[in-house]
């Protein structure tokens, strides 16, 4: 999962990208050395994505892939990773949105494969998500130092 994001970030030359759940929880992220308040970005991105999706539904749209904000300095892109995740990308406004969109689509496809494993019954227990390739035994046992 981390590799997919890194690859996506490198190819699209993003300043920041994160995979999050629609609840706002950030599963994984990659960034330039800048300081980013990741939790905060997650909460705001999920809120914005959910709002635009709900608006578009009320406007009669049936499908929803995401949305884009063109900035002077940096632009934002939110892209769906079905069934319940999304990809947040932040990038310099000089970068063509089409490129980001293209690579976001690819990354979304690849991430869906990982996420299916995480959310299927044999993956994480019900009501819980896990990020990375952690085995549950590892959590249950106290970590010895």
């Amino acid at each position: 999962m981390s590799g997919v994001l890194q690859d996506y970030r490198d190819r699209s030359e993003l300043s920041f990208c994160a995979l999050l759940e629609e609840s706002g929880l950030v599963l994984s992220w990659k960034a330039t050395p800048d300081q980013w308040q990741v939790d905060e970005l997650g909460a705001l991105a999920a809120g914005a994505y959910g709002s635009i999706q709900a608006l578009s539904r009320r406007a009669g749209e049936t499908g929803f892939e995401g949305c884009f904000q063109h900035g002077n300095r940096r632009s934002l892109h939110l892209y769906s990773v079905p069934p319940t995740f999304l990809l947040l990308s932040i990038f310099d406004s000089g970068i063509a949105p089409g490129v980001v969109r293209l690579y976001a689509g690819e990354a979304s496809q690849r991430l869906q494969q990982y996420l299916r494993k995480l959310t299927e019954p044999s993956g994480a227990p019900e009501g819980c998500l896990r990020s990375g390739d952690l085995s549950w035994d590892e959590v249950e046992k106290p970590v010895s130092r």
């Binding site: 706002g24 929880l25 905060e40 909460a43 709900a54 009501g127 952690l134």
Partner: protein, 228 residues
Amino acid sequence: MALLNHENREVVFKVVYCGPGLSGKTTNLNYIYSCIDAGQRGDLVSLSTSTDRTIFFDFLPINAVILNGYSTKFQLYTVPGQVMYNATRQLVLRGADGIVFVADSQSELLEENVRSFQNMEQNIAWNHGALDRIPMVLQYNKRDLLNAAPVQHLEYLLNRRAQRVTSYEAVASEGYNVFATLNAISQLVLHRFYQVIGVGEDQEGSRVEEALSPVAQARTGGATAMAG
């Protein structure tokens, strides 16, 4: 939905403060924010109008403690109480691991509390299925006001399901029982998490205590004794 992040070795939980408009949800978060060390929390984000009413949510991330090498984090949200913001309430409730219902104790507002509670139940049904499956704590706020209804009355209206939940009398504006409420919901959320991942009851007990001591220690000033 709790998130276990292997990369950063952390477990993250989402706790949502619900309740009617002006019941004191934002006041709870402000108080928590003001008591916890900057190193133990992030910034408080408020999406509010110029008149200070929450229009989308308030958001405050806090760190609890290292559990088995994993740091536990709680993300606290409030929802806007006003009727017209139902769509955003539904969004904020997505993936909630725990709920604090902040009721306004004023006698004149009893009906509003009930309506808000029912609305929350519907929104949870829309998101998850059933309220019974999400840990919840009730907070009867504004106990300092002369027109506060008797607690038994509030209990009767809001806490008579088969599975009764813990409730606290609070004065959020003075910090009274704000941390007691937060500790209670955090414990329930962790308890549920351990049930889900299948950790035994006795093992779990000590860990929950351990997890919450920093939050408890973060209480400064104000009366914070547990209710009841």
